[in-house]
């Protein structure tokens, strides 16, 4: 199955890229948008049929490498097979 790890800067952590995107959007006339945050999504193929077991493995991978818990939070979801 395929896992998606969504990684976002924690609330309160400065996000210079999000801020730059927000400024650009405002300059383009999108005056109603604000609080833009930029994160990343990592797609991972995992050899398992058990979602619970897969989640545990992806959690470990996220804690060890994919996310830096000092500045980032993550969420794991699974994509349905086509």
């Amino acid at each position: 199955m395929k896992a998606l790890v969504k990684i976002m800067p924690k609330n309160g952590v400065l996000d210079p890229q999000g801020k730059a995107i927000e400024n650009s959007l405002n300059q383009l006339g999108f005056s109603q948008v604000g609080n833009v945050r930029q994160g990343k999504i990592i797609e991972i193929e995992i050899n398992s049929n058990n979602e619970q077991e897969a989640k545990k493995i992806i959690e470990e991978a996220s804690n060890k490498l994919l996310a830096n818990l000092v500045i980032e939070d993550y969420e794991i979801s699974f994509l349905k097979e086509d």
């Binding site: 490498l65 000092v70 500045i71």
Partner: protein, 229 residues
């Protein structure tokens, strides 16, 4: 005296730091490849600047998980002396040897310039030849040098006098205007609690020879070499 410089794919200050260490110690450091699983017996381990693994994912994150870093962490926890400069500092925070992390510069640009630093700690293994409040000029060259840690971690660092250097101006003023990258409390370099690990964004190896116009980094190297003797 054995000094090991760890070389990652993308390190680009490894030879500069080796040259500076040789100049002050009269001994060639050992260059150790990131894929090695054992570390030569070392009195000092150096993680050099550069763009290890292309800065993929987060600066220093891949390098922190390379085979040699397991040995470096083990060795540091047993009391070996470790220095991380620039990308090396990022690797030290990613590997958990130093608290906090380094995020993108507040102004979003890569900054490459000589920067005044205030010496905050003049009793460490690495800085004892400076005097507290000395203002020294050392180059920085980074895109992710914005030191960040939670409030309680920053308080812990300050309470234990673990800040080695702060960004300032030529008069030693420390404020937002003299902060090049947005680092919390203008922090440019920190020590761990045991005093055997130092991480810093500025490059003393680029300021250790008057032939290139800057020698304020010399006392950094003489401090270290004297401590090792």
């Amino acid at each position: 005296m054995n000094i090991s410089v760890i070389v990652f794919p993308g390190s680009n200050c490894d030879r500069d730091i080796a040259l500076s260490l040789k100049k002050f110690s009269n001994k060639d450091p050992l260059m150790v490849w990131h894929q090695d699983h054992s570390l030569p017996e070392s009195d000092l381990i150096v993680l050099p600047g550069g763009f290890s693994y292309g800065d993929y994912l987060r600066c220093g994150s891949m390098a922190a998980n390379s085979p040699i870093m397991k040995e470096v962490v083990k060795s540091a926890n047993n009391g070996s002396t470790v220095i991380g400069i620039c990308n090396g500092f990022q690797i030290l925070t990613e590997s958990g040897l130093l608290p906090g992390t380094l995020i993108q510069n507040q102004g979003l640009s890569f900054i490459c310039k000589n920067t005044p630093l205030k010496v905050e700690n003049d009793s460490s293994f690495f800085t004892h030849n400076y005097k507290k409040d000395d203002v020294i000029n050392i180059p920085i060259a980074h895109n992710e040098g914005n030191y960040y840690a939670s409030d309680d971690v920053v308080k812990d660092i300050e309470d234990n006098e673990l800040v080695a250097f702060r960004y300032c101006d030529q008069d030693g003023e420390i404020n937002n205007k003299t902060n090049p990258n947005g680092s919390i409390k203008n922090i440019a370099g920190i020590l761990n609690k045991n005093g055997n690990v130092l991480g810093m964004m500025p490059h003393p190896e680029r300021a250790a020879d008057s032939i290139i116009g800057l020698n304020d980094g010399e006392k950094f190297f003489t401090s270290i070499i004297e401590s090792l003797q």
